[in-house]
Amino acid sequence: MTMRPPPEEPEDSAPPDVPFFRTWGGVYWFTFAVFVAVVGALTLFTRAFA
């Protein structure tokens, strides 16, 4: 009986297959930019209401 399938294909360097992004680095930078924007928005929210 076989125990487990063979290790995955070398997929680390495969493109993300996401519109507008050619590399995973681009996806990570986008996520980081969203994070900065959210913290910025929360800072403005605090200044407006607190």
Binding site: M1, W24, V34, T43
Partner: protein
Amino acid sequence: MNVIDWLVLLGTILGIVGYGTWRTRHTDNLNTYLKGNRSTKWGTIGLSVMATQASTITYLSLPGVASENGIAFIQNYFGLPLALIVVCAVFLPIYRKLGVYTAYEYLGQRFDQKTRLLGAGLFVLQRGLQAGITIYAPAIILATVLGWRLDLTIICTGLLAIVYTVTGGSAAVNLTQKWQMAVIFGGMVTAFVVLVTKLPSDALHIAGAMGKLQAVDFTPDPKLRYTVWTGILGGFFLSLSYFGTDQSQVQRYIGGARLREGRLGLMFNAVLKIPMQFFIVILGALLFVFYQLQPNTPVLFNQVQWQQQAAGPQGATFRAIEEKHAALHADKQAKIRAWVAAHDSGDTKAEATARAALTAAQKASLTVRNEARDTLQAADPAAKKTKDSDYVFISFILTQLPHGVIGLLLAVMFSSALSSKAGELNALGTTSTIDLWRHFRPLAAHDEARNVRVAKWLTALWGLFAIGFALFVSFAENLIEALNIVASIFYPALLGVFVVAFFLKHVQGSAVFWAAIAAQIVVLAIFFFGKAYPAWEIGYLWLNPIGCAACVLFSLGLQVLLGDRTEKNI
């Protein structure tokens, strides 16, 4: 609750459990049982990761915490997106490349068996005990408010989670979590919309004037629990250890057809987690405003236990507190109206004066609430098991929402309990099978059917243990806090082991094993020193970077001392 609520509640919960069990009833392939279907897409993985992290406490207690203490808690999540980027870029590709079932299996391949057992043992110890609390914490609140029997609530919730987790493993957990999250989103948005329709247009300004909307705080003071800095640095290390090394999360994203699915599922959480938590804490802040404007806001929201004592021999004391609170509440409402008028007039001086008067009225009201809490706990020690903030949102649900929606919101609470519980059981069953049982039965590793059977049995046993522990916890009220502390101080050293594994290729097993133990002692020493000398106590999130850094530094030092001697597996 009426018949409609019961139909919605039971229909939703049993429907999802039944669907998940039926769809995955023929799962007999070990890979599918432990990692989920190969066809799982990133959306399902993303929701599954989110559902495992957010337990009932997130939806039931967090609005109450925000109602009482404001929305600063949101900063705890600031390190999460950054940690998920690291998990995507470093952790996940290695787990996938090696084809491991558990994070600790990787430690065995990278270091040795004793380090693997250390990681698996720490996980099983802390998660096994936590699994009981995952059921107990919401059950005690719901049982108190709804008049249900606590033991039956715990047993029924636990058995439901066991049924489908044992039947379909990861495949069932992923499938049900997707639908449970749909129920959770639908219910929470419905409650939010109903709440907003009951509030005046300047509700956010009132919440802000009463100090509930301080979302970010840039003060560089390590003793403050919630600041941007503790959130980013402490939250980063906490999230990195939870998402990168806790099997209950690793198991959610290592499956899927391609690496892409796991990565996008994690990025889904990195982008949406802070907005989702913001939505929950804002709900809490608005609940606070709602109850400020209500004429008959109770002095405590745990009205079941309060009324029981008010009808008893100490009734006069309880009624005196109620009257004092009612007078202060009316005065506070007048101060709110005065502040709104001053704010609308644009007169900054009058607005500042009105705000100061409102703050004083709020402080006086809080003093009476504290007196009420102390009086209730003195009269009924069982009231110490929960915090009054736990009852804020459930009180709103039961008294302000229409029938049908009440059932939906209770389905939200049980869905979140089941989804986080199932993720935990699934991970405990997997780790016990792969890292512990196989360690002592290496020859049986080649019998796939036997592995699936053992994984099912161990998952069921962990489920029964969790139920038993939850029933036991109800008799030991101080145990929960102790266990929460233990869980949070075990993470840092374990993360340090993984950081060494990924980034310091020359460090070997013995060095990191003893470094992890030494780092754990350092974390415990700092923690207990802070408890003994509160002036030196630091925010608990700081223990994560300290413990991790200690493990890394000790590993480097020990590696120099031990040299490149041949590592032997135990």
